[in-house]
């Protein structure tokens, strides 16, 4: 394996300036030279993969990176082509994008808005990336999306579940493939009703920051619409590691369902604590006490071990899906790395393909061209069935999975089983839905 990574500028300049050393300085502003930020003029195009490599989400970030590398391999014609073969758009030919070899740079978001923006900026300013993608939290996604809008590059959001990403903080240069809090609620509520009945009293524990609030709002609204009551919504500090003092009062509150609006480490700990307290063996109001985790991540669910068994939640994608696209992806990912991909890996793989495809179809890397190609784009074959990138808010609409912690896992990856594939129609909402109100896309910014 001998691959030389050149920066875009490097390639550009070696061609332009031969006989180095004696050339006079040519001074120019970026705007006079290029039509848009980081226009690739050489034989390669650079993408920026900005994922958490340190901090609590590092494993999720590592899985994203694996998927990115796989996507780049496929785009450049390597490997078995993965979902490129099942993708309904056939613009990509395995020769890079528009004949340019796809190159990439990586960075560490540290799951901090500041660090994520610094890393994205270095990709744009130093490495000449035309597209930034990745991330594992909504705060980071929104911060980097704002940056990409200002800098004039495309942002493909990666893992972000907050309504705000395509709600009040939506941006013209940003697209989200992941589902959101509203969709979780819309998909999950009917299943919960079916399983637990419509006469239920819910108690919410919510991570005390924006994502938690939007999910709490979404789930509460969806379940209340089906007849549930919400007895209490309690906010827990982000830094909390021990949730005992929040869980202990639950049994006494008259609630018979506990909804944990937590993600990552918070989710693992609050779920573990709740199960420890024996909540699931209790009877309240004559019913079995139940716990719900609206947003599941298989990687994180592993941290909770046996505690996830029988617990319902929703997820963007799961490797056990049997459609052609998912199978192709699992096969090429599994063959390369030896274990199945996570939903984060799937999301970012799809986004890389979708970006490449949009550029190919638009015939340019100009963000405005790509925005045009992606807006209202309908496709199939990337798992989750028929999918639409809606023009009004750049949210992706596709089937949502309702899953349950598996009772008898056959392997360490086999933790969740898909209970229901909620059809896209059921999770679609109007662009001006109040939970997504405020903010506007603005117009695409090509930078330069």
């Amino acid at each position: 394996m001998s691959k030389t990574t050149l920066t875009r500028r490097g390639v550009l300049k070696t061609g332009a300036v031969a006989g180095a050393g004696v050339a006079l300085p040519t001074i120019f502003t970026a705007s006079s030279a290029a039509a848009y930020t980081n226009e690739p003029t050489g034989s390669t195009v650079t993408l920026g993969f900005n994922v958490p490599q340190t901090g609590p989400y590092a494993d999720e970030g590592a899985d994203e990176l694996r998927a990115y590398e796989l996507a780049v391999e496929h785009l450049n014609g390597g490997g078995d082509g993965g979902m490129m073969n099942t993708f309904s758009s056939k613009a990509l030919k395995g020769n890079g994008i528009m004949g340019k070899k796809v190159d990439f740079v990586t960075g560490d978001t540290q799951t901090k808005s500041d660090a994520a923006r610094a890393s994205a900026k270095s990709m744009i300013e130093k490495d000449g990336a035309v597209m930034i993608t990745g991330g594992s939290s909504s705060g980071v996604a929104i911060a980097v999306q704002g940056l990409c809008q200002e800098a004039g590059v495309i942002f493909m959001a990666g893992l972000t579940h907050s309504n705000d990403t395509t709600g009040k903080d939506k941006k013209a240069n940003g697209f989200r493939h992941f589902f959101n809090g509203y969709m979780s609620g819309a998909a999950l509520a009917p299943v919960l009703q079916k399983m637990y009945g419509s006469d239920r009293v819910a108690y919410h524990l919510t991570a005390d920051y924006t994502w938690g609030w939007t999910q709490e709002e979404s789930i509460a609204a969806a379940t209340e619409a089906l007849g549930w009551q919400t007895v209490n919504k309690v906010r827990t500090p982000l830094a909390a590691t021990d949730f005992s003092s929040y869980i202990a009062p639950v049994l006494n509150s008259g609630a018979d369902v506990l909804v944990l609006n937590h993600y990552g480490g918070n989710m693992v700990n609050s779920l573990t604590n709740a199960v420890q307290f024996g909540l699931r063996e209790k009877q309240v109001n004559g019913k079995n006490f139940e716990i719900v985790v609206p947003l599941y991540s298989r990687l994180m669910a592993r941290g909770a071990g046996e505690n996830v068994k029988g617990i319902f939640g929703s997820t963007n994608w799961h490797w056990s899906l049997t459609d052609e696209g998912s199978q192709a992806f699992v096969k090429s990912f599994g063959t390369k790395y030896g274990f199945p991909p996570s939903q984060a890996a799937h999301t970012v793989y799809c986004q890389t393909l979708l970006y490449a495809d949009a550029a190919e179809r638009a015939g340019t890397f100009n963000p405005c061209g790509i925005v045009e190609a992606l807006e209202g784009f309908e496709f199939d074959g990337l798992g989750n069935g028929k999918t639409l990138y809606r023009a009004e808010d750049h949210q992706c609409f596709k089937d949502v999975l309702v899953v349950k912690g598996k009772d008898n896992p056959t392997s360490e990856f086999d933790l969740l089983e898909v209970v229901e594939v909620t059809p896209v129609g059921q999770v679609t909402y109007a662009p001006d839905h109040p939970m997504f109100a405020g903010g506007s896309l603005g117009s695409c910014n090509p930078g330069a």
Binding site: S2, R117, L147, Y209
Partner: protein, 406 residues
């Protein structure tokens, strides 16, 4: 000149030259060489170097002079950033009012926290400042979201009610920060052979303010006020019986360094109008402590070096991934190449924290006075050699006399 003695003046000139020529100095490798990965001469990182340099210079005025170890200085940087972004949202995209407000707000904030915290000394003081900063962070992340926009961080939107200026530009985007029309993000690029150099307006604003801050800090170090603070650090007991009311002096140092932090926060927001709560977290406070100690607490130049060192690791080492490594070692036979990559792999990319931790330990163990001491030792080595060889090439080693204030 400028009220400095010759030694300090030359130090200032060196720092000035380094700052102004940074786009060249930090990009020593041709843009297409494998070593280009180590180039740091792009606007964002250069801005961070000088901004965190300002932060560390200010912190050093407190810690280096008085010995009071604040573990909550990030809070001042944070409120500085928030004030600046609010100024952009409400008043104008010009950075001047934003920076002024951030310095003032940080000053007031540090006055309050300093007034309370300075009632205790030693580790009790450290924990008090830590407690205040952590409270600020936790509240900013959650309850104060209407002011701080919580997790996401405060950023500009398309419908900010800007009094002087427009909410959005003609083409529907958010206006950019500027200094009387000069856009902070505009960059001139210069090709020189295979090299590429970037000159960014925002960076030069930061660099000039850093030089000004540095100059002020030299003046403070050399002033009676600075000497009084050093005396407080050396022997507070004696100072009390020497007729000096130490509290207002330490408080003044605290507020000055808080204002430096506010300036740094305001500049961060001016370069990139976003203020995240993480800026106030204890890890951020810890970072400036590490910068200062790593560079050499109590020295003039040390904090700047420390800031550069840590930011360099964070931004450059974290971006080295396996394919970059394979690029570097591609000339080797395949087996050896893979072997070397496997060895280096844990220390770069996602392992940059590990390398940073090892560097901390190495510096503290082998260079108790921080990086500055390393510079001095090298300087001594050279001056000894050059004495033997009859001197002559002193100007080739301009760093040999980094001055230590003692």
């Amino acid at each position: 000149m400028l009220g400095l003695n010759k030694k300090d003046m030359s130090l200032l000139l060196i720092v000035g030259a380094l700052a102004l020529l940074a786009p060249f100095i930090l990009n020593p490798f041709p843009a297409d060489s494998a070593m280009a990965q180590f180039n740091a001469g792009y606007p964002d990182l250069m801005q961070r170097f000088v901004i965190f340099g300002i932060f560390a210079i200010g912190f050093n005025i407190l810690f280096g002079l008085t010995g009071y170890l604040s573990f909550g200085h990030a809070a001042f940087l944070g409120v500085g950033s928030y004030s600046a972004v609010w100024m952009f949202k409400l008043l104008s995209m010009n950075v001047v009012p934003a920076i002024l407000l951030s310095v003032i707000v940080a000053g007031l904030f540090s006055l309050v926290i300093g007034f309370v915290s300075l009632r205790r000394s030693g580790i009790y003081f450290s924990i008090l400042t830590l407690a205040f900063a952590q409270m600020s962070f936790n509240l900013a992340y959650s309850v104060l979201t209407p002011i701080t926009n919580g997790e996401t961080g405060l950023q500009l939107t398309l419908n900010d009610p800007r009094v002087l200026g427009v909410s959005q530009t003609a083409d529907g985007s958010i206006p950019v920060t500027n200094l009387f029309g000069m856009e902070m993000r505009s960059t001139f690029e210069m090709d020189l052979g295979p090299w590429l150099f970037q000159f960014n307006t925002g960076y030069y604003l930061c660099a000039i303010l850093m030089l000004l801050s540095f100059y002020l800090s030299v003046r403070i170090f050399r002033s009676p006020f600075g000497m009084m603070l050093r005396a407080v650090k050396s022997n507070q007991h004696r100072m009390n019986y020497t007729g000096l009311n130490t509290r207002p002096y330490t408080l003044a140092a605290f507020v000055i360094s808080g204002m430096y932090a506010g300036l740094a926060g305001g500049l961060l927001a001016s370069m990139d109008p976003l203020a995240g709560a993480e800026r106030m977290q204890w890890t951020a406070s810890g970072e400036v402590v590490l910068m200062t100690i790593l560079g050499g607490a109590g020295t003039l130049l040390g904090p700047i070096l420390g800031a550069g060192f840590i930011k360099y690791f964070e931004n450059i080492f974290s971006k080295i991934n396996d394919s970059v490594l394979h690029g570097w070692f591609g000339f080797m036979p395949d087996g050896l190449e893979d072997f070397i990559v496997t060895i280096v792999h844990p220390f770069v990319g996602k392992g940059w924290h590990l390398t940073l931790g090892l560097m901390f330990m190495a510096v503290v163990i082998f260079l108790p006075g921080g990086l500055i001491e390393g510079g001095q030792r090298i300087g001594k080595l050279f001056s000894r050699k050059s004495k033997k060889s009859d001197g002559g090439d002193a100007e080739h080693h301009p760093k040999q006399t980094p001055h230590v204030a003692e």
